[in-house]
């Protein structure tokens, strides 16, 4: 990481409303950071370097287990530098990079190469997911144990579902032996033949639809195999009520966790009536009923956390008719603000649950961050819950601008992101300054 070692390793954040749902901590406190870790949480702490955070909330930094930084291969869309800058702007202190790059992250040398570049170029902690199958083809297993030794955190064929249950089962068994979790994009390609959700909006618009069953059938297969093999399994971007119910059924029958995305929690397939390529995403935006079910599943803890599926695309891949556009949205910079605006401010989701779902639970999953317990890495997000802002193409830190929230007014903004005690995103300067 490009976090520079400060001359003075101590930093005190004063008078922030400190919220850590993992411990139940919630109150105006001072936090002292020592040697990149949470050193002390208390009242009246003094220090030479300090941030006065009156009126701001302090959360454990957000962790995103699902992001595409397009490196290697599509550095025109995102790089480790720009992706991590985008993450830092959104309050994310840890991000898992998906392996569907060019070349695919399916060899140990690609993992070690990426980790070296992350060390140099990333502003936040970044982790590498390696591919479950060579070339993401769902045929030959990757060298999972050698990939793990090279530093891979988990295995995933994200972007594609594994089409043969027999092949997937072997991959899960082998990953289990290798001590690696699998992160599964659940999609049956024999059912997913369209480009948007197969519903009334698609019917009226005349755009080919993919039914919810394309996700549900594959989710059911993955969960049954998780229960049978004992493999540690994460189901990513759950977007339907049926899939959420399946996850609920298997919660105590398998070693399974799951996430859903900010866009599936806030948007519906109503947007596709615009026929704009911008709104193509996979899994597709769903109708109101699914959005409601997914919200409820996040609220009640069935879905463990939020992951953004940050998927930058060049404008030539998005400024197209729906059927020709590439699927995917930017996610890092708007995740917290969109969910705060749409779910917390409307009373649909308590703030501690949102923070738990963006910080604590995914932090536990990656094994780092997501906690303000003394001794934890000082990975923090300072947030102004009252600041309104407009999502503006020009001000995004990503190299791409395919956010479905462009032009929207959101409330709640990350004003400071701290990774290992270093400020990697700082909008406090203008207002508070770091007083040396």
């Amino acid at each position: 990481m490009t976090r520079r070692n400060g001359h003075n390793p101590e930093l005190v954040i004063r008078h922030a409303r400190v919220l850590d749902p993992s411990t139940g901590l919630d109150g105006v406190k001072d936090v002292r950071i020592v040697d990149g870790r949470v050193g002390e949480v208390g009242d009246g702490l003094r220090g030479i370097r300090k941030i006065d955070a009156d009126g701001l909330h302090l959360f454990p930094g957000f962790v995103d287990v699902h992001a595409h930084w397009r490196t290697p291969g599509r550095e025109d869309e995102e790089t480790i530098e720009s992706g991590s800058a985008s993450a830092a702007v959104g309050g994310f202190t840890g991000v898992v990079m998906m392996p569907n790059t060019d070349p695919v992250v399916d060899k140990p040398v690609v993992v070690s190469g990426l980790l070296r570049r992350i060390e140099r170029e990333s502003r936040v902690r970044a982790y590498v997911s390696a591919a479950l199958h060579v070339g993401l083809k769902g045929e030959r297993l990757t060298e999972m144990r050698l990939l793990k030794e090279a530093g891979a955190l988990c295995m995933s064929d994200d972007g594609l579902g594994t089409q043969s249950a027999g092949v997937l089962r072997n991959a899960m068994l082998y990953a289990h032996s290798a001590g690696l979790p699998v992160l599964l994009h659940c999609e049956d390609h024999t059912l997913a033949t369209g480009v948007v959700h197969d519903g009334a909006v698609a019917a009226l618009a005349g755009v080919p639809g993919s039914p919810a069953s394309a996700e549900d059938v594959a989710t059911a297969t993955a969960l049954v195999l998780a229960a049978e093999t004992g493999a540690k399994t994460h189901i990513t971007h759950v977007s339907t009520g049926v899939s959420a119910a399946l996850v609920r059924f298997f919660a105590d029958r398998a070693d399974v966790t799951s996430d859903t995305t900010p866009h599936h929690l806030t948007l519906t397939d109503g947007l596709i009536s615009s026929l704009e390529g911008m709104y193509r995403v996979n899994p597709p935006l769903r109708p109101e009923g699914d959005r409601e079910a997914v919200r409820e599943a996040l609220r009640d803890g069935t879905l463990d956390f939020v992951a953004t599926d940050h998927a930058p695309h060049a404008s030539e891949e998005k400024e197209l008719p729906l059927e020709q556009a590439a699927p995917g949205f930017l996610g890092h910079e708007t995740a917290f603000a969109a969910l705060h605006t749409e779910l917390v401010l409307t009373g649909k989701l308590p703030l501690p649950r949102l923070v738990g779902a963006m910080s604590c639970a995914p932090g536990r999953w990656v094994g780092e961050g997501g906690s303000l317990v003394v001794g934890s890495p000082a990975d923090l997000a300072l947030v102004d819950l009252s600041e309104g802002w407009t999502v503006d193409r020009e001000s995004l830190s990503s190299r791409s601008w395919n956010s479905p929230y462009l032009g929207r007014n959101l409330t709640g903004r990350v004003v400071g992101t701290i990774v290992g005690g270093e400020l990697v995103h700082d909008r406090t300067g203008a207002r508070f300054g770091i007083r040396a």
């Binding site: 030959r140 297993l141 990757t142 060298e143 043969s164 092949v167 072997n170 068994l173 082998y174 032996s177």
Partner: protein, 307 residues
């Protein structure tokens, strides 16, 4: 003496193993003279085999038996005759012992239920391969200080346990001899219920050495485990790194075994195959005497051991 089937080593015990091994030693030391003179041994191989078939044939001939060989090609089997009908025919022709190799587990047991002749299982599918495990015990007893010396020694069985009839015989044989046994394999090459044998599962040959293995019993990895429609292993490089035996494992006293044929550079690195730690030649060498002993016991002749 009565004829006796050799179908499985599941549930075998020290006394039984000892009897067979003692007789094998008598054979090897030339103390048995043509025990099967006037008897007919039929080799019925429903599946390709070279070393096992040759070893049985040599054993039967050295014991003085008349030998009939029936291979899959050139027999009624290719005409679609069923296993049971074939062995009943052989029985009716007067075979005293039928040595059966078949691609399906349980074939030897099924055959034995329909005929009076003794059945010796020479390998049935992923089921059992009892004479392989018995000759392994012969070779091990010689390498250590006799059968009694095996008690408490640790053996790691490494590789494709799931598809191995050798493993299904070697496990009860080694346990019956009083050895401690662990399995070393990824879950794709183990039964789904990894507690099926209630044995420790270790993640690598290195871990087996830490566990204190004195015997590394390497199983053959079939190529189709990597390339078939549903691969279970990523690559030779990864398999070799964790489930292959290399020079570094050959610390003093460890013995390497393999039922053959070896994939050099996969389960055993090339420079280990003929290393002095390797018992592979000893295993092959023990085969004829052990199979002579098994055929003698199976046929049920009163064998006189010269003093």
């Amino acid at each position: 003496m009565h004829s006796r089937d050799f179908l499985t080593l599941e549930g075998t015990n020290r006394k039984e193993l000892r009897e067979i091994l003692d007789l094998a030693r008598d054979v090897a030391e030339g103390r048995l003279s043509k025990p099967l003179a006037g008897k007919t041994v039929c080799l019925a191989f429903f599946e390709a085999s070279t070393r096992t078939a040759v070893s049985f044939e040599l054993a039967a001939r050295r014991c003085g038996a008349d030998v009939i060989s029936l291979s899959e090609k050139g027999s009624a089997i290719v005409k679609g005759e069923s296993l049971v009908d074939t062995v009943v025919t052989l029985d009716s022709l007067g075979a005293d012992t039928i040595v059966l190799r078949h691609p399906a587990a349980g074939a030897a047991r099924l055959a034995s239920r329909h005929i009076g002749a003794a059945v010796v299982n020479a390998g049935d599918g992923c089921g059992q391969h009892p004479t392989q495990a018995l000759l392994d015990l012969c070779a091990l007893s010689e390498a250590f200080d006799g059968f009694e010396d095996l008690v408490g020694r640790r053996a790691a069985i490494v590789g494709d346990v799931l598809h191995s009839r050798v493993a299904r015989s070697v496990i009860p044989a080694f346990l019956g001899a009083g050895m401690d046994v662990a399995l070393v394999a990824p879950r794709t090459l183990l039964p789904l219920d990894t507690d099926a044998w209630n044995l420790p599962i270790l993640p690598s040959v290195d871990a087996a050495m830490e566990w204190g293995a004195e015997v590394l019993y390497m199983l053959r990895l079939q190529n189709e485990r990597m390339t078939g429609g549903s691969p279970r292993i990523p690559s030779v490089a990864e398999y070799g790194a964790y489930y292959g035996v290399a020079q570094r494992h050959l610390r003093r006293g460890v013995r390497v075994m393999h039922p053959g044929p070896v994939n050099r550079g996969v389960e055993i690195s090339g420079d280990v195959v003929l290393n002095e730690a390797s018992l592979i030649p000893n295993q092959v060498a023990a085969g004829v005497a052990l199979r002579s002993a098994v055929l003698t016991l199976a046929t049920g002749v009163a064998h006189e051991v010269a003093a």
